[in-house]
């Protein structure tokens, strides 16, 4: 299990560091916008409007109701950090495994390319159909959106792999079709986009989310590229098919 151990070690270390970067950026840029938007959530008629357009069923969304939630302030920030670091390691595992399957990342520069691919797959492509949402904004059924999200991620990853890792024009064309297809099908949308959340606040949030994710993925890719040679026993020499 040397390979498993090394992959997990490299991924955990890179994910931890990139997750810390992510936490700092979220606290600085995205969370303040979420807090601003929460002031509009559940006020006035918006609550009723939201109930019509969301269909959550029993176990839906739960601000302020019975279920436990972290107290505002330090506790809430700590849970955001925990989620960012744990998920950072999760994304890092996917990045390391994906790159090892085709030979491994050769250094920080190649890592940046892999990071950009991760950003395209996990942020850019899903964000086209389902832009980052602020609390209090109407959205379609949660299951439908999660299913579309997972579909677009798989299709984009597969499409990019066909384009970048094969030498065949036909396969590259198929890759492009795969990347476009989920957007032709279209993401589930709410019946109405009416919300009390101001458009400028949402716009700032979309920019903040997209840019913080870009930085996270670039940091993650570069970190994996730097760390990999130090734990490369059993991982083999990198094959530089990219970059």
């Amino acid at each position: 299990m040397t390979i498993f151990r090394n992959v997990v070690f490299v991924a955990a270390l890179a994910g931890l560091l990139a997750g810390l970067v992510m936490t700092a950026m979220q606290v600085a840029f995205t969370v303040p916008l979420i807090l601003q938007a929460e002031a509009y959530e559940g006020t006035g008629e918006e609550g009723a409007a939201a109930e019509e357009s969301h269909d959550h069923g029993a176990a839906g969304h739960s601000h302020g109701d019975e279920a436990w939630m972290p107290a505002d302030g330090l506790e809430r920030t700590l849970y955001t950090a925990l989620a960012a670091i744990v998920t950072g390691i999760g994304f890092s595992l996917l990045l390391v495994v994906g790159s090892e399957l085709v030979g491994g990342i050769a250094g920080w520069r190649q890592g940046l390319f892999w990071g950009f691919a991760g950003f395209s797959v996990f942020t850019l492509a899903p964000g086209l159909g389902l832009p980052p949402e602020l609390p209090g904004m109407p959205a379609a059924d949660l299951f439908a959106r999660q299913a579309w999200w997972i579909g677009v991620v798989i299709a984009t990853a597969g499409g990019l792999a066909l384009i970048a890792l094969t030498r065949s024009a036909a396969l590259a064309a198929l890759g492009a079709v795969l990347i476009v297809l989920p957007h032709v099908i279209g993401a589930p949308q709410p019946e109405s986009h009416d919300t009390l959340v101001p458009a400028h606040l949402h716009h700032s949030f979309v920019v903040a989310v997209t840019v913080t994710n870009l930085v996270f993925w670039l940091a993650l890719g570069a970190m994996v590229g730097v760390l990999r040679p130090r734990f490369a026993q059993g991982l083999g020499e990198p094959q530089s098919s990219l970059a």
Partner: protein
């Protein structure tokens, strides 16, 4: 593909794939649990993170 010790590389390539798959599933599980779990406690704890990652939320 491998430059050294062909026999070892041949026998270990299957094990290599298995180990990489295992690590990949671990990554999917972690990301899926934090980003997609419908458990309210998980949702509430990771709320700001989920919004900041543009995971479908609520």
């Amino acid at each position: 593909m491998a430059t050294s010790s062909g026999a070892i590389a041949a026998t270990s390539s299957q094990s290599r794939l298995l180990q990489l798959s295992l690590a990949g599933f671990l990554g999917l599980f972690i990301t899926g649990f934090v980003g997609f779990s419908h458990m309210e406690v998980v949702h509430n704890a990771g709320h700001d993170y989920r919004h900041s990652m543009a995971f479908p939320c609520h």
